[in-house]
């Protein structure tokens, strides 16, 4: 495992996402209202690019016709076959016991701390006054 700087905090607006590559792995970084989450950009079904999917809420039901809506914008649907995954955990909502997409923790770290290492920042130039998103891979 190593820690990789993948973006400056201001780069991904709330509700937006950015595709990065870390140690050869394509990872989609999502901003949920100032919290950041990473998912492997490869759907466990057939490898669809999760980063290009729509975000939605979660629709569940207590019984037929009784809809429960939660997690607004916290669900990503694979653009290929519409499978739903929880952006926070990578858990799928179809057969959660069997399917999930690999999740990567994202940490917000001050540039001043980053320059002390050990971090890898091949493509991002770190400024001590900024804050950055760091992924553990």
């Amino acid at each position: 495992m190593s820690r990789h700087v993948v973006a400056a905090v201001g780069e991904i607006a709330p509700g937006d996402r950015k595709l990065v590559t870390v140690r050869g792995r394509p990872i989609a970084i999502f901003n949920l209202g100032g919290e950041y989450f990473g998912l492997l950009n490869r759907c466990p079904h057939q490898g669809g690019p999760m980063c290009e999917g729509k975000t939605t809420g979660l629709v569940q039901a207590s019984e037929p016709g009784k809809y429960l809506y939660s997690k607004a914008d916290e669900v990503i649907r694979c653009p290929w076959h519409n499978w739903e995954f929880d952006i926070r955990t990578g858990q799928s909502y179809c057969e959660p016991d069997r399917n999930s997409v690999r999740a990567y923790p994202v940490e917000v770290t001050a540039g001043a701390a980053l320059v002390e290492g050990p971090y890898v920042a091949e493509t991002i130039s770190v400024n001590v006054a900024e804050r950055y998103l760091v992924v553990d891979v």
């Binding site: 079904h45 569940q60 019984e63 519409n82 739903e84």
Partner: protein, 358 residues
């Protein structure tokens, strides 16, 4: 004669028949009894089983006197019960009640058929059980009919046709499912149509072959409807039995349904587990007709694909011509699977079979 594979089997689908409308009249309430006579109403014979079609009755089971096949207890004992060593057989009477457009008239006929079944068959032959005939055209009247017979444990199921007026998952029909679950009755869905809609989803076919073969697609549509509309979420203890449906289509259909459910789950969020799992807990299918491949290994592969040996219930589909002699069970099935189909699975499906008959 093929040797019996399963003495004491429970036959989950036989078809004792109404010999003629006159036989029902003593069991019919006024004003309908009078209406039948005054209007000159004929037998409610639909085209589901044309009288002279080979499928409708096996040649050696056709009565010599040209009477309606399976319409006397003596015939049923001789051809359907004794030769198979049957311990219990469930009578699913196919009479055209479901085709009537008048809800009241249909309900009156249904009541008459059930009274006739109780008096002419169940009272006389302890090996028989029966399905309650209801007219789903009027769900409230259907519930009344279920409640009329619920105390009589010889009725083990409520019978619907696979092609009625609407998809069977629709909430208008839920009172029927609520009553069935409450009284421990299975819902039997039998091949056949009310002919209120074309018997295929693409329009009226030309030939009987098309009509009969297409029933399998109707079963697929109804199974899909009941799962997607949430019938099994609302009534988790409900057992649904597909009768004369064939079963070789089931694995492929469930692969397809489960596949698209994964991507469209949010549209039917109450379906919170894979459709194949719902089928394994709530749905059963009768054995005959086995429209499977001719060789044993291919048939066993279909059982493997079903991922359960608890789904199939033994049936002869008497008097329909689905096999010869007593070869109702395909050759080469493992003994434990045969035992499950003929004994364990029917008992697990029809709770009332275990209850003492009063």
């Amino acid at each position: 004669m093929t040797p019996l594979l399963a003495p004491g089997a429970i036959d989950c689908d036989i078809h004792p028949a109404v010999p003629n409308l006159a036989a029902l009249l003593p069991y019919m309430d006024q004003p309908w009894r009078e209406q039948v006579v005054v209007r000159g109403i004929d037998d409610l014979a639909t085209i589901a089983y044309p009288a002279n079609s080979p499928l409708t009755c096996r040649a050696d089971w056709r009565p010599a006197d040209k009477s309606v096949p399976a319409s006397s207890l003596a015939q049923v004992r001789r051809d359907a019960l004794d030769p198979f060593g049957t311990s219990i057989a469930i009578a699913n009477c196919l009479y055209g009640v479901q085709a009537l457009f008048s809800e009241d008239m249909a309900a009156a006929y249904a009541t008459a058929v059930n009274r006739w079944m109780a008096a002419e068959w169940l009272d006389k032959e302890p090996r028989l059980r029966a399905s309650i005939i209801v007219a789903a055209q009027g769900p409230e009247l259907a519930v009344d009919e279920i409640e009329r017979w619920a105390h009589d444990k010889r009725f083990v199921q409520v019978l619907l046709l696979v092609s009625g007026a609407t998809p069977l998952g629709k909430r208008a029909l839920w009172p029927i499912y609520r009553a069935a679950e409450k009284y421990g009755l299975a819902i039997g869905i039998h091949a056949g149509s009310a002919y209120h809609n074309p018997p295929t989803s693409v329009g009226w076919p030309t030939y009987y072959t098309e009509d009969y073969v297409s029933q399998a697609q109707a079963f697929q549509s109804q199974l899909t409807s009941m799962i997607c509309e949430g019938v099994f979420n609302k009534f988790p203890n409900l057992k649904v039995v597909l009768l004369e449906s064939g079963f070789t289509w089931l694995p492929a259909h469930l692969w397809r349904l489960t596949k698209f459910w994964r991507g469209l789950r949010m549209e039917i969020p109450w379906v919170d587990r894979a459709p194949a799992d719902i089928v394994r807990s709530n749905v059963r299918l009768s054995l005959q007709p086995v429209d499977g491949p001719p060789d044993r290994d291919s048939l066993l592969r279909i059982f493997d694909h079903m991922q359960s040996d608890e789904l199939i219930l033994f049936s002869t589909d008497y008097p329909h011509w689905q096999f010869d002699g007593t070869a109702a069970i395909p050759d080469g099935l493992p003994a434990d699977l045969v035992r499950k189909m003929t004994h364990d699975n029917p008992r697990a499906t029809y709770a009332r079979l275990l209850e003492t008959v009063a």
